[in-house]
């Protein structure tokens, strides 16, 4: 489904070099590595927010290496949820799709939150709204940039399970980057260590 071939990116030092990733339909992959090793940059390159030095990315057999982010249809969950303060929860969701807000909110366990002001959400709730929004956009791949790391452990555990279940039920492939091995094991089908892949 998603083929990344020989991805390289330098940023003062080499972050990843000739890294190849293959993601099957419905597969959830975790990429681990210590902070600052280039995990986030990798995701940003895959979804198109940053340019690769070299390498190519294929989605369903079509090359998307040079397509702008907004047409790739690859979703991204940021480390801290990015919610637009000028919009309500529902307004934030409508940035992805006009319909099915109730269903999407129920899926993430926040039914009835549509009219809430985003200021009033807790960290976990915020991340769930961001997830609901990302899924509403029907991404062909969802990228997750340590979205659970800012939450306390009970909450993150629950969220990890919920998100995994949701992704599996939709057969949406996903890549999670995290420095937390335990989290990676719980969430994913397969784990790559970024440092291993460099060396």
């Amino acid at each position: 489904m998603l083929n990344c071939r020989n991805l390289s990116k330098k940023f003062e030092r080499s972050l990843f070099d000739k890294l190849s990733i293959n993601l099957e339909k419905g597969e959830i992959l975790a990429i681990t590595g210590p902070s600052g090793c280039g995990k986030t940059t990798l995701l940003r390159c895959i979804c198109g927010l940053e340019k690769l030095d070299s390498g190519s990315i294929f989605l369903n057999g079509k090359e998307i290496t040079n397509s702008p982010a907004e047409v790739r249809n690859i979703g991204l969950l940021f480390q801290k949820p990015v919610l637009y303060p000028h919009l309500s929860v529902s307004g934030n969701l409508s940035l992805a799709s006009r319909d099915n807000h109730d269903k999407a909110l129920t899926e993430v366990g926040l039914s009835g939150f549509g009219n809430r002001d985003v200021h009033t959400l807790s960290g976990g709730e915020g991340q769930r709204v961001a997830l609901a929004r990302a899924l509403l956009a029907n991404p062909r791949v969802l990228l997750l940039d340590e979205p659970f790391s800012a939450l306390d452990s009970d909450l993150s555990l629950k969220l990890i399970n919920d998100v995994r279940a949701l992704l599996k039920s939709r057969e949406c492939p996903a890549i999670l980057v995290t420095h937390n091995i335990e989290e990676a094991e719980l969430f994913s089908d397969r784990i790559i260590n970024l440092l291993d892949s460099i060396n």
Binding site: L49, A69, E70, V71, G75, Y84, H86, L95, R133
Partner: protein, 556 residues
């Protein structure tokens, strides 16, 4: 930077150059043609001509003392307002910072009414002229001190002070002052002082009306501008305008540079909460706030009262009666003095047209600078300074530029082109729009834009649904600021608006005042016009205040 952005940015820069820089170049070209290129001579001519003798010294000295007095009056207000909780705090702050948007000519009318023979009757004292000018400048600019210092005080993490109280070096008030308050507040105070100095330095309407004998560089320029730029006729006028412009340009450039250094400093250093953390009440603070409110509102009140107080015209008596005759006079108008409604209409159309041009242009420039900051820092710095150039020019110079420029292009436009004053207003307001929009663009969380991209939103959609709404506050501030500045603009309009059909509210106030005051209705009529202008400005200001986001800590 993609090609669309490039084209967009290039159009904005070209348009800005045509509208703003070209007239100034025309003016300089014409003046230098007359005076020759000899900057030392220009500056020396200021002291060689009786008209401008002593203006350099006076301009510097009054700006210096205006700045000091502004801090002395403004700081206690900012402190009390920021360090304690107040009922209707936002409203209090609005009232106290209102003078900043009130046109200078209105303040001048107010001061004259207060100090004049039917007020305190202290204008006969020579010292009055000096300290009323300084005090008027303080009246204007305390808003800057409040705006810059109050948020620092009210959002400073209280732990910082609490921790210090528990440390050996923080037990005394003095030590806390030294170790906390001065380092925290110094950049804000310094930045506000810088701006106060600049505004006092280029003061025109207040100097024209309040000060006697002494003149600032700006008011001197306005006085001789009509005879400048002419070869073989009163050439000293051109020397004076060039000399005064050069000094102003340098002073403003240095101040702007200082400002930007200070602003960077005060943004980064201290831990600030996103909301108001100060909770304690302080009833004694009213001892500062109540007189401050009185001080701020007095000139405005006196303008309103002055519009209703009519001198009894009989013989040499000095009795007064309350009457709306001044208003009728202003509403009626005459050939030389258009009716209030016409001036109001002109002012409205001029300011809205100014807005329609200056806001998109300023936004486009700010956005181009912002985009360039990532791609080409040098170019963005150059462009940023380029957009600030009009700041360093006096209104008189801008007026002169527009005038000479239009004569060169199409002479009949000087009286036929009804929108001519708009050009001057655009030149004056565009830099402000850039200054307001740019920090807001910079403070926009990059994640917002990126997240919208991965959600698949198109460029236009991102602009309309994400950027504009997030920038709402700043755009509104820029809108109101542009409208208010255009409505109250006096210096440049004074030179540009030759056709009496183009009279704006401030020009009408000025020309009504300039009319022989034998007519007892002259003063009430001019105060009536001033009242209208003041009320419009106040409404605009209150609108922007009610929308002002707590987190907005831009320049204004």
């Amino acid at each position: 930077m993609n090609s669309l952005q490039k084209i967009f940015g290039a159009i904005a820069v070209v348009l800005y150059t045509i509208i703003t820089i070209a007239p100034i170049v025309f003016a300089l070209d014409r003046l230098i043609l007359v005076s020759g290129f000899n900057p030392t001579f220009w500056v020396q001519s200021l002291d060689k001509n009786y008209v401008s003798q002593g203006t350099i010294g006076f301009t510097f000295i009054q700006s210096f003392f205006s700045t000091i007095l502004t801090i002395l009056i403004g700081f206690p207000i900012a402190w009390v307002l920021g360090r304690h909780s107040w009922p209707f705090k936002a409203f209090l702050r609005s009232i106290l910072t209102l003078p900043f948007v009130i046109p200078a000519i209105i303040a001048a009318m107010g001061v004259l009414t207060i100090t004049g023979p039917y007020g305190l009757d202290i204008r006969t004292e020579e010292s009055t002229w000096w300290w009323t000018l300084i005090l008027s400048h303080a009246w204007f600019n305390i808003a800057l001190i409040i705006r810059f210092c109050e948020p620092v005080l009210s959002t400073l993490n209280p732990n910082l002070e609490e921790q210090l109280l528990l440390l050996p070096n923080g037990v005394t008030f003095y030590s806390r002052l030294k170790n906390l308050w001065i380092p925290v507040l110094a950049p804000a105070v310094a930045a506000a002082s810088c701006m106060t100095f600049v505004f006092s330095f280029t003061s025109f309407a207040l100097v024209k009306w309040i000060t006697v004998r002494d003149k600032t560089l700006e008011s001197t320029m306005a006085e001789v501008s009509s005879s400048s730029g002419i070869q073989g006729y009163m050439e000293s006028s051109s020397d004076i305008v060039l000399g005064a412009s050069l000094i102003q340009f340098l002073v403003l450039l240095i101040s702007l540079w200082l400002m930007s250094v200070l602003q960077r400093k005060r943004q980064t250093k201290w831990q600030q909460a996103s909301e108001n953390l100060v909770q304690n009440k302080n009833t004694k603070g009213w001892l500062v706030l109540a007189p401050a409110i009185f001080f701020v509102q007095l000139p405005l009140l006196s303008v309103i009262l002055g519009s209703l107080r009519v001198r009894d015209a009989s013989a040499d008596s000095t009795s007064f009666k309350w009457s709306t005759a001044g208003w009728s006079e202003a509403l009626q108008g005459s050939y030389s003095f258009p009716p209030l409604s016409e001036a109001l209409f002109n002012s409205m159309i001029y300011s809205f047209t100014t807005l329609i041009i200056a806001l998109p242009l300023g936004y486009a420039l700010a956005s181009t600078i912002h985009i360039l900051e990532e791609k080409n820092l040098h170019l963005s710095k150059i462009l940023e300074i380029y957009t600030m150039l009009p700041f360093a020019l006096s209104a008189a110079m801008i007026g002169l530029g527009v005038m000479l420029g239009i004569i060169k292009l199409n002479p009949s436009a000087a009286y036929d082109f009804w929108f001519l004053p708009v050009l001057a207003h655009v030149i004056i307001t565009v830099p402000f729009v850039v200054r307001i929009i740019l920090p807001a663009l910079r403070s926009l969380d990059l994640n917002y834009e990126e997240n919208a991209k991965v959600l698949g939103m198109s460029k236009l959609n991102r602009f309309l649904k994400i950027k504009l709404p997030l920038m709402k506050g700043s755009i509104l501030v820029a809108t109101v600021f542009t409208l208010a500045m255009s409505l109250g603009e006096f210096g440049a309009s004074f030179i540009v608006a030759r056709n009496s059909e183009w009279t704006t509210l401030p020009l009408l106030i000025d020309s009504l005042r300039g009319k022989p005051m034998k007519d007892p209705l002259t003063v009430p009529a001019s105060n009536a016009v001033a009242t209208v202008l003041m009320i419009i400005t106040m409404i605009l200001f209150l609108v922007v205040e009610s929308f002002r986001n707590q987190k907005d800590r831009g320049m204004f």
